[in-house]
Amino acid sequence: MDEQVLQTVIIGLSNGLIYALVALGYTLVYGILQLINFAHGEVFMLGSMIALTLLMALGVTPGMDIVTTIVLIVVVLLITMTISAILNVSIERVAYRPLRNAPKLAPLISAIGMSFILQNVGLLWKGPTSLGFLDIIPNTNVLTTIFGLDTVVAVSYKQLFVAAVTIPLLIVLSWFVSKTRQGKAMRATAQDPDTAGLMGIDVNRTIAITFVIAGALAGAAGLVQILYNNTTVWSLGFRFGLNAFTSAVLGGIGNLQGAVLGGIVLGLINAFSDRYLAAQWTNAIVFGVLIAVLVFRPSGLLGQQAADRA
């Protein structure tokens, strides 16, 4: 394969994995509440700001020894995930739970309102300009420095880091939902909350757990964003969130594997569009893809066609 194409694929994959983390949050919440949680992108944005603040507070700088760096990153990861999870579950409590029995439009509007509020929190907290962060993880090519390959294709330590954080999270989540009792309760609640209640499932708790998981994943994605893309800004959540939501729809919303696949596909589309077309058209292409998917295959790549049997 052409080395340039390969390089674009690698960039696309790394970005795609971050999309996947956020997309999972959309898909989990949509699955259980049939709600497009517009505020989810903002949780990711705030997650990245929390991570940035923690990294700076702990004095993480480039050139620290590897063990300290890893330990500190893990600490920041856990704290960021925890705070984001708490934030997300609080959003559910304030903006969505009181609307459990309202028509579908109400929580959607509430989500849009929540998204405005959180954007402004970011704006007030960190100001209107983009914040940068240094390369904690080296950008050097693993293939040449470790494996000694003679190639211009680069897989950086940063990209390995993205994979090292996201892939285990994705595996744990998929095991949790398909195999554990609580995971099955989530699936049951997603299908029919009233009946789930009649089975002895605590519906409110199950929904709260879903938001905790979604928030934690968004927090993890926020840290990855800071360490991989080195930047955040108050308006990051909207654009990134739309990409992630597109990923979820692309894969078939409500479907966990679909969200991951959709994220990766979208990462690739982004990377190829940036590289071979022009960056200013990338958003138009992303939305074009979104519209095309919804029109021609609304159930997404992996979504089941609804079996409407008489």
Binding site: K184, A188, D192, T195, G197, L198, I201
Partner: protein, 237 residues
């Protein structure tokens, strides 16, 4: 002390006064049936007992202990489970998983294996299709699954909401046979039915519900011969 007791229960949907002071009793080991037209408040009564709706007034007691105001999942833990109207099986989960969900509230995980066996003995068709998604079952099979799922909680009182709805006459007979069997094995049943004839056939006592109120209650045998009941619910002139 009655096993399950409702006293002057009032339930609203928004501004609509759906139950207007319903009182009824279910004694240990009975089948009690609740009869009435659509809109009379039968399902509302069951939904209120199960905690899906909160009564605005009145008390619901299980063995003398109040259960109203509790969440649905807590009420299941206390020993009341329901097979809801329209079956409502988890279509994208298989039969085994559906039954597993039915047992969600049970503390004694050890007894589960035996419970599965009991359910599958009661409904052999379900055993054959254990790993099949519930959405692909026929209406009768789904009804069996819904009842089996409710039984997995090992309830003291089983609430059945319109188990014969939309089923062929031949299946209706089967379902009623099963209800009788379940009762004979020791489960108390509160049965909501449109098919008054069949319901009064297996119940010991019955309540007639109209516009959210109990207008008549008596032994099933007496209700079967009551002229007003015969005219309105059994279709005789």
């Amino acid at each position: 002390m009655a096993l399950l007791e409702l006293e002057d229960v009032h339930t609203y949907y928004g501004a609509i006064h759906a139950l207007r002071g319903v009182s009824l009793k279910v004694e240990e080991g009975e089948i009690v049936t609740l009869i009435g037209s659509n809109g009379a408040g039968k399902s509302t009564t069951l939904r209120t007992i199960s905690g899906l709706l909160r009564p605005r007034q009145g008390e619901i007691r299980l063995r003398g202990k109040r259960i109203d105001g509790h969440k649905p999942h807590e009420i299941v833990e206390m020993g009341v489970s329901q097979s809801p109207e329209g079956r409502r099986v988890f279509a994208r989960m298989n039969i085994q998983e559906n039954l597993e969900m039915g047992a969600f509230a049970r503390k004694d995980r050890g007894g589960l294996a035996a419970e599965y066996d009991r359910i599958y003995d009661l409904f052999p068709r379900l055993r054959e299709r254990r790993l099949q998604n519930a959405g692909t079952l026929s209406g009768g099979e789904q009804q069996m699954l819904a009842i089996g799922r409710a039984l997995m909680a090992a309830p003291r009182v089983l609430l059945l909401d319109e188990p014969s709805m939309g089923l062929a006459p031949i299946l209706v007979e089967q379902i009623f046979d099963i209800i009788r069997t379940i009762n004979e094995r020791g489960t108390t049943v509160l049965l909501v039915e449109q098919n008054a004839l069949m319901a009064l056939g297996i119940a010991r006592r019955g309540y007639i519900l109209q516009t959210g109120e109990v207008v008549l209650s008596d032994s099933a045998a007496k209700l079967r011969t009551d002229p007003a009941v015969r005219k309105a619910y059994l279709g005789e002139d």
